[in-house]
């Protein structure tokens, strides 16, 4: 199994609902260092899993929809705690869509699964990985 990972980051504000969150119930923020891993059983004829430049471009387009925003204000997150694990799931869905609708090029047809990992701090990170249905 091959894998290819490209990185980027976003800087967002948000707050959490639930006593469990303690001080994180207040409006605060995070830099999420994003690592997006594509997996495939084979490479294309050029020996590429996916074009790195294209992967970075498409990942950036997806991240632009949340980067430099207060997530509490965005429609997709109304009534949802935008925890790191949830945001990994959410962004995984967006990049999986891009894989399936051709935005990531013809090589992406070999991609069988994607792992989206978000580092919220030097000592904590979360990820969501799943197959391309």
């Amino acid at each position: 199994m091959y894998s290819l990972t490209v990185c980027d980051h976003i800087m967002i504000a948000h707050s959490f609902h639930g006593e469990e969150f303690g001080p994180a119930q207040r409006l605060h923020g995070a830099t999420y260092a994003v690592e997006c891993e594509f997996r495939a059983a084979k490479l294309d004829d050029l020996q590429l899993l996916i074009d790195i430049g294209l992967a970075k471009t498409v990942l950036r387009q997806i991240l632009e929809t949340v980067d430099y925003y207060n997530l509490d204000d965005l429609a997709p997150f109304k009534g949802i705690n935008t925890t790191t694990e949830y945001m990994a799931f959410y962004l995984h869905g967006k990049i999986a869509e891009a894989c399936k609708d051709g935005r990531l090029g013809p090589g992406a047809k070999n991609v069988t699964s994607i792992k989206m990992l978000l580092r919220e701090a030097p000592t904590a990170w979360a990820a969501f990985e799943g197959p391309l249905s």
Copy 2:
């Protein structure tokens, strides 16, 4: 599949038995940078896999039993080479117990497996991962 990782570190002394270890047969030591990854197929209603603060607290409690010790002197390790891979296995067992006995909160009931990774140096690390039986 979701995952959540929290980090900490310990500073221990130990020695190894067996010619294969060369100079590591002498009493020496290590900083183990610890990365503990919890995996679950779903999040709770708050969109949490597990509470990060609680996970760090419980991990620290477990690490306290070995942190700043000469492992050669501790009962659980009598007659055992405390290699990095063994210590990953040992600590995995302790955090798995905490998951099962409720110390990691109700969300931990969703955890299906744990990976315990210990970095002994910038160029070498070991891990043990396994399901929660």
Copy 3:
């Protein structure tokens, strides 16, 4: 010259005023990975520049005043853009005070300067360093 560095991190929200900031004019946030470096020409009799545990405790106390907050709402920052370089300056002032008023222990009397570095992202960071007047 000796130096000793201890680390921590904070997660804050804020917004910037000025067209130059582009999308960062919106309310967003950041994780600041904090590296606080103390410099001294000599160590104490125990061969310590400063006690690491105490340094981490005092640094955490200072960071608590801004951690998990929207900086736009805090009194010290009214009318000020809380850029990374500014926050490094601000936090430098707070730790320098702690050094001078004895909170960092008697060894801190040898500290001649401090560097406060804040990493806002994997690709950008800022610092303020200055002598203890």
Copy 4:
């Protein structure tokens, strides 16, 4: 499942064929930070998955065949784009051979799979993982 990872790096030149590569069609180069992970279901009697020193030595021997070379000039890569994902596959094959022919010691008989990861830049890396047939 246990895993053990050892690291090294190589510095190579190469060029790519195919318009998709853009400026990377020109002769350029890369430092590949290499992370070689061995997986096994059990440790040997010394609590070792594999001897770290031996693993580093054998990995270095394999890397010597490509380190400080222009890959375009080497026989194994004639007519092949030596992308990061391809090189991970290629080096995986070589270390898997060493595992099977005894060069990694008797403990290596427990190794069931290997992951070879190559970091080409702070923001991109690729890997190949596969079982030992």
Copy 5:
């Protein structure tokens, strides 16, 4: 003293002349992870040392002149060993020019020195720092 650092990277080929270089006399390559640090005694009215976005853009423009090239083929490096320390010096000169001719914006007038650091591998890096004359 304030400092602000922005990062990028380049992937180049080159060879060295001189027996001292051993196998590095062969055509090989490197990824240089670039860290460009600007220093200034004061910030502007917006609390900026320099605009991070602009700094990254100008740094990228400068790096484009060497990125994805065989340095042996470029005019500025004829008869010169393009060691990491030399390349740090060379790129320092280019960014210092940009600082002085206004490309980095009006805030750059406060910049008193620049440090250009190039990481060639996880275990080796070089830098050149100097004042803006």
Copy 6:
């Protein structure tokens, strides 16, 4: 001013004397990730500050005298707390000697100062820097 840094690591045991050290009074250990920085105002005719390979070899020779040892048992450290800051000072002295007695090659005559940095954990490190007298 040019600088060149090479890295290595050591794994040692030790204990500290003094109530201030708390649990670190017990025999424990550390991995010290070592970063040795050489500074010089000019490069040699080959554009080298110092030969990286030679620097790594000599640094390793120096580190061998403490690597895989219990520092409490070594003559140079009798009655001395081998704190990270002290060990940085001690190793700085050894590499400075090597610089002055020619072991680091003729290029080392340009070296004006050295910084020896030891990372004891992901969240703490210490250094000693000083001129070559």
